[in-house]
């Protein structure tokens, strides 16, 4: 078989090289793999869902088994989601696994990105892959949001309404753009089928293409590694892809699937039948987006009521938190390797990763950025939190408005101090104690070996 292919493609040499590819071993290198596996699971479950879902806003009367909604007028899209959930065997578990996989997908991308950031893995020569990664994050959020909107339930309609308002707030072309994207003034009949095309075709195609680029560049540039014995800027030390690394990764994929199957089976998510069909003049409180849009929602909530009219031109209060802040945020994120290069004037090639403590300024900025996004995300759920902890919503908003400027700076400052302190003390609090383990040898006796030895 291999011979047959090799005689035609000369692939044996190339395949052997691939199988010998060296993978350095560190748990944090698996975060990106988890994201990849989530995406594979999304493709599989999503394909199943498309076979039952109808991207159609046409009104129908519900006559299915779910009693509370029987006789209600709703879109064919919403009805098909109810049918999938109540009448298609294994339909509900597939839909819930799909939704959970989407949440974990974005979470894994973010965790992977945080790892790459704090260890400086984005430095030359890996700037391209960093930017591809940021683009993948944006696309993943876009896929999540479009998917969230497809069931055409009350909650998803509210999300779309806010997105439409953000588009309208773009300078001057906003209303035109909004009408082009939505096919008219919100709410429109056509938007469901447009979101469907985006969600099941254009965005996944773009993600697949960029994952290909991401892995291709990774393959070409080889892995980074942490400093250690025998490791230099010019080599990669680890295990070859086949067999051990392949088995480990394959096992990780299965475990990711297992975790998502358990979540999808046991933890209910997006119970659209509770929200009811979309109705432009109704909304439920509290209304919450999926976690990865929470920071945007928070920015929109916290931004003060500031809407100046200058020379007859009004700057909508949605514009800065809904368009400018995410725009600047993602731009700075994408260009970070170049910003850092400009500041540090470091233009050398790096294949050995940084220990975060050795780059206190970067680590401080990273922690500050994470705190900023975290505070915005908290603000995105401020009504729920105010209710849960019985604080007035007004106090909550003012605390977060001020905290947004204070807490990230404070967090960054503390991080800087901790980093420099760790540097001078040389302490390794995060490192596992180097213990020993007992090994039984061929003669039946025991011998003590360092626990991190692989031989």
């Amino acid at each position: 078989m291999l011979k047959w292919i090799d005689e035609r493609l000369g692939a044996a040499h190339w395949a052997r090289k691939g199988l010998k590819k060296v993978f350095p071993d560190h748990w944090s290198f698996l975060l990106g793999e988890i994201a990849l596996f989530c995406f594979i699971i999304l493709l599989l479950t999503g394909t199943y869902l498309t076979l039952f879902y109808r991207p159609d806003a046409a009104p129908v009367i519900y006559e299915g088994p779910y009693e509370p909604l029987r006789g209600r007028e709703m879109s064919a899209a919403y009805e098909s989601v109810l049918r999938l959930s109540y009448e298609v065997r294994a339909g509900l578990v597939m839909r819930q696994i799909h939704h959970w996989a989407a949440l974990v997908f974005v979470a894994a991308i973010v965790a992977h990105m945080v790892r790459v950031f704090f260890t400086g893995a984005f430095r030359k020569p890996r700037e391209i892959n960093w930017m591809v990664g940021v683009t993948l994050l944006v696309l993943a959020i876009g896929m999540g949001f479009t998917g969230y909107s497809l069931p055409d339930d009350l909650l998803s309609g509210t999300g779309l309404r806010i997105a439409y308002s953000a588009v309208i707030s773009i300078p001057f072309v906003g209303p035109y753009l909004g009408f082009l994207v939505f096919g008219g003034e919100f709410p429109t009949e056509g938007i469901i089928s447009r979101l469907f095309v985006l969600h099941v075709m254009l965005l996944p195609a773009a993600v697949i293409a960029l994952i290909g680029v991401h892995l291709g560049v990774l393959w070409r540039q080889k892995h980074t590694q942490f400093a250690g014995k025998g490791r230099t800027e010019r080599n990669v030390v680890g295990k070859s892809f086949w067999p051990q690394q392949f088995f480990k990764s394959f096992g990780l994929m299965l475990l990711t699937g297992a975790a998502l199957a358990l979540l999808g089976g046991l933890v209910q998510i997006n119970a659209v039948w509770n929200y009811g069909p979309f109705d432009a003049s109704a909304v439920s409180a509290p209304s919450q987006p999926d976690w990865y849009v929470g920071w945007l929602e928070g920015a929109i909530r916290l931004f003060p009521a500031f809407e100046p009219t200058i020379f007859g031109v009004t700057i909508p209060s949605m514009f800065i938190p809904g368009v400018v802040i995410p725009g600047i945020g993602f731009t700075v994120l994408a260009l970070w390797p170049f910003i850092e290069q400009r500041v540090t004037n470091d233009r050398a090639l790096h294949n050995i990763l940084d220990n975060p403590r050795d780059r206190p300024a970067r680590s401080a900025i990273g922690v500050g950025g994470i705190l900023y996004v975290a505070l915005l995300t908290i603000a995105g759920g401020n009504d729920v939190l105010a209710l849960t902890f019985n604080v007035p919503i007004e106090a909550m908003v003012w605390f977060l408005r001020i905290g947004l400027f204070v807490i990230p700076v404070l967090g960054g400052f503390i991080t800087y101090k901790v980093c420099t302190e760790l540097q001078s003390s040389g302490a390794r609090p995060a490192r596992r104690k180097r213990g020993t383990r007992l090994r039984r040898n061929a003669e039946g006796g025991f011998e003590e070996v360092p626990s991190d030895s692989h031989s």
Partner: protein, 276 residues
């Protein structure tokens, strides 16, 4: 080294999970059971494969050298020379024409995108409210001032446009003594009934929560709060513009009617909106 028993066992667990799922599919329909069985099927195999790889595969640590990624200047130069060779760059005029043709072709290919939606025109500035239009609920029933309880709230639409998103309006009845409406709107509150656009001026959510004690309308999306007594001026949250008020009166049959459209655009602001 004796192979660990649990690695064998986990493959058996996986098989049992898979077989269980097949069997359960034929008889039951609980998502919980399906999820657990699928979790066992995948998880068992995952644990087994990873256990196999980490405990039973003795493979050596290997070292691979990086290819030199230091850019080779002569290679770059040769490539640049290849691209910019005389055959291409000699005809400057043709190059410019080709660039121009590419740009116009791009425009030609992009133009059909304009079919995706109508132009906004005046639609963001107008709703379906007209002078004389009765305020009806979503079932089309017209409303008298006495149909609205004191401190009560009702969602209404112009007659014939029940449920129309752009025209959704709330009517609230307040003790007329408490009303302190802006100048010129004194007549818009027959028997203490005031009507406001239900679309939040911030992000467009329906402003559906009424705090009767405080006489405030609250948007459930971003908590913008409007003081109804002063004409729904924003008092808290991100909304900056008051909710537009519907000019309103009572017709000869005693029903609430609009005396015109809203006088400002309803819903979120946009840059070139009419601020008169």
């Amino acid at each position: 080294m004796r192979p660990a028993r649990w690695i064998y066992a986990s493959f058996v667990v996986s098989m049992l999970g898979s077989l269980g799922l097949v069997a359960y599919y034929l008889i039951g329909e609980s998502a919980q059971v399906e999820g657990v069985l699928l979790g066992l099927a995948l998880g068992g195999m995952g644990v087994g494969v990873i256990g196999w790889a980490t405990r039973l595969m003795d493979v050596p640590t290997v070292t691979e050298e990086h290819d030199t990624l230091e850019s080779d200047d002569s290679a770059v130069e040769q490539t640049e020379d290849m691209v910019g060779q005389d055959a291409v760059t000699r005809r400057k005029m043709l190059l410019r024409l080709a660039a121009g043709a590419s740009a116009t072709l791009g425009a030609a290919l992009a133009i059909p995108a304009l079919s995706l939606g109508p132009r906004p025109g005046q639609s963001l500035e107008q709703t379906k409210w007209t002078s004389g239009a009765r305020l009806v609920d979503r079932f089309g029933d017209p409303q008298r001032p006495e149909d609205i309880p004191l401190n009560g709230i009702k969602t209404v639409f112009p007659f014939g446009y029940e449920g129309e998103a752009d025209s959704q309006t709330v009517v609230i009845k307040i003790d007329p003594e408490l009303l302190d409406l802006p100048e010129g709107r004194e007549d818009w509150a027959p028997e203490g009934c005031v009507a406001f656009s239900k679309i939040c001026t911030h992000a467009g959510c329906p402003v559906g929560l009424y705090r009767a004690a405080a006489k405030q309308l609250l948007c459930p999306c971003h908590q913008s709060t409007f003081d109804v007594t002063t004409g729904c001026t924003p008092v808290f949250g991100p909304a900056a513009r008051p909710l537009p008020q519907l000019p309103m009166d009572v017709d000869e049959s005693g029903f609430l009617v609009a005396t015109g459209d809203f006088q400002e655009p309803v819903g979120p602001s946009f840059w070139n909106m009419d601020t008169e």
